[in-house]
């Protein structure tokens, strides 16, 4: 089963982010709660880590490094059991 990795920011956080870097490669195993990637927000003057909600495998990186992404964007996909 493939699930989307969504950028779920709060309404107090920024609308626009930049993908800083992924901590994993496609195909890597992931445990629930693991940090997947870091996005940066000029508006919030800080960087945010995005964690895996479930365990599985990082199937696809959709938003590449330096890509600008909005709240709600699909960042990647995970294969979960």
């Amino acid at each position: 089963l493939l699930i989307d990795i969504i950028l779920e920011a709060t309404e107090t956080e920024a609308d626009e982010f930049t993908v800083s870097y992924w901590k994993l490669d496609e195909g890597d195993a992931v445990a629930g709660g693991d940090e997947l990637l870091v996005v940066e927000s000029v508006d919030d003057k800080t960087a945010f880590s995005v964690a895996a909600k479930r365990s599985g495998r990082l199937a696809e990186i959709v938003a590449r490094e330096d890509e600008r992404v909005s709240r709600g964007a699909v960042l990647g996909r995970m294969e979960v059991a």
Binding site: T10, E11, T12, E13, Y21, D25, K45, T46, A47, F48
Partner: protein, 311 residues
């Protein structure tokens, strides 16, 4: 796979759960209130809102000064909203706050710098929440001692005024402010006696040297400041002063020890530390300590035992 890191890893925090901040957001919107959390784009705002707290920013959302480090908008100020004291008090009550932190933009256009409005807000909070403590973080009121006295007359638990940076950088980043005048505001508050705790904050990474920083910390202690906050300066935009240096967490820890050795009673130091960070904790700990110390003193007077030290 690691690409370049634009911010050091210690400036990364987890994204919050979107459902966590809705209650605070709804209360603020209902009262049409400003917070310094939003206006200064504080990196901690989602955490604080999720914990049900916010720092109210009164006297409008336009500042009459244009500090090179600050995201609050600089523009012609709006009329002071006479309904704001009641709205702040109602919001604090709706959030169930037992400790309310109030700050403001700088209002050099007002004869009293906005001190009277601070008084009205504090008074409205006390009426709505008689048991709540109030902490204020005030502008320099152009050094007007009467304005400082007026605010102190409302008995805030903590009186804060931020020195922000070292003396040399004032011209570059804090135009319209004056280092000695800011120290004077703190000194006036500290010398008044009573139970008010005096607090100040310094941003690191603006371009200060270690020696300048230690001199500023020494000046704050000399002025009577008891609570000090040290945090990383983060530039709000490309139009603002760039960050000169990212200070690692272990250096903040070491600086905290330096501050304690200098005699500060409460030190908050860390990359994400801001003036209102854990504000309640510092006040509760120190005021609790003072109460305990008073009680111990009274007891010792009775029992002729010498009194306990506050720290």
């Amino acid at each position: 796979v690691r690409a370049r890191e634009r911010l050091p890893h210690w400036l990364t925090k987890p994204l919050s759960d979107p459902s966590d901040t809705r209650q605070v957001r709804a209360v603020l919107e209902a009262g049409r209130l400003n917070t310094v959390c939003d206006e200064a784009r504080c990196p901690n705002r989602a955490d604080c809102f999720a914990r049900g707290t916010a720092t109210f920013m009164i006297l409008g959302d336009r500042c009459t000064r244009d500090c090179r480090f600050c995201a609050v908008s600089h523009d012609d100020p709006r009329e002071v909203d006479p309904a704001e004291p009641a709205e702040v008090a109602a919001a604090a009550a709706a959030l169930g706050l037992d400790y309310v932190v109030v700050t403001s933009v700088t209002r050099d256009d007002l004869p009293d710098g906005g001190a009277g409005h601070f008084v009205n807000v504090m008074s409205a909070i006390r009426e709505a929440l008689p048991g709540a403590g109030v902490e204020v973080l005030v502008p320099d009121f152009c050094g007007d001692e009467a304005a400082v006295e007026a605010v102190l007359g409302e008995h805030p638990k903590v009186f804060g005024h931020n020195i922000e940076t070292v003396s040399r950088l004032y011209t570059a980043v804090r135009r319209g402010a004056d280092y000695r005048r800011s120290l004077g505001v703190l000194e006036t508050a500290a010398s008044r006696g009573g139970r008010v705790l005096v607090k100040s904050s310094v941003m690191l990474g603006v371009g200060e040297s270690r020696q300048e920083l230690e001199e500023t910390l020494g000046d704050l202690r000399e002025a009577g400041v008891e609570i000090v906050c040290l945090g990383q300066y983060l530039s709000p935009s490309g139009q603002h002063r760039p960050v000169e240096r990212y200070v690692p967490p272990e250096e903040f820890d070491e600086l905290a020890e330096v501050c304690r050795a200098m005699g500060f009673r409460w030190v908050e130091a860390g990359p994400f530390v801001r003036s209102s960070y854990r504000a309640h904790e510092a006040a509760a700990a120190l005021l609790g300590m003072d109460a305990a110390s008073d009680a111990a003193f009274e007891r010792s007077e009775h029992e002729d035992q010498g009194h306990l030290q506050a720290l």
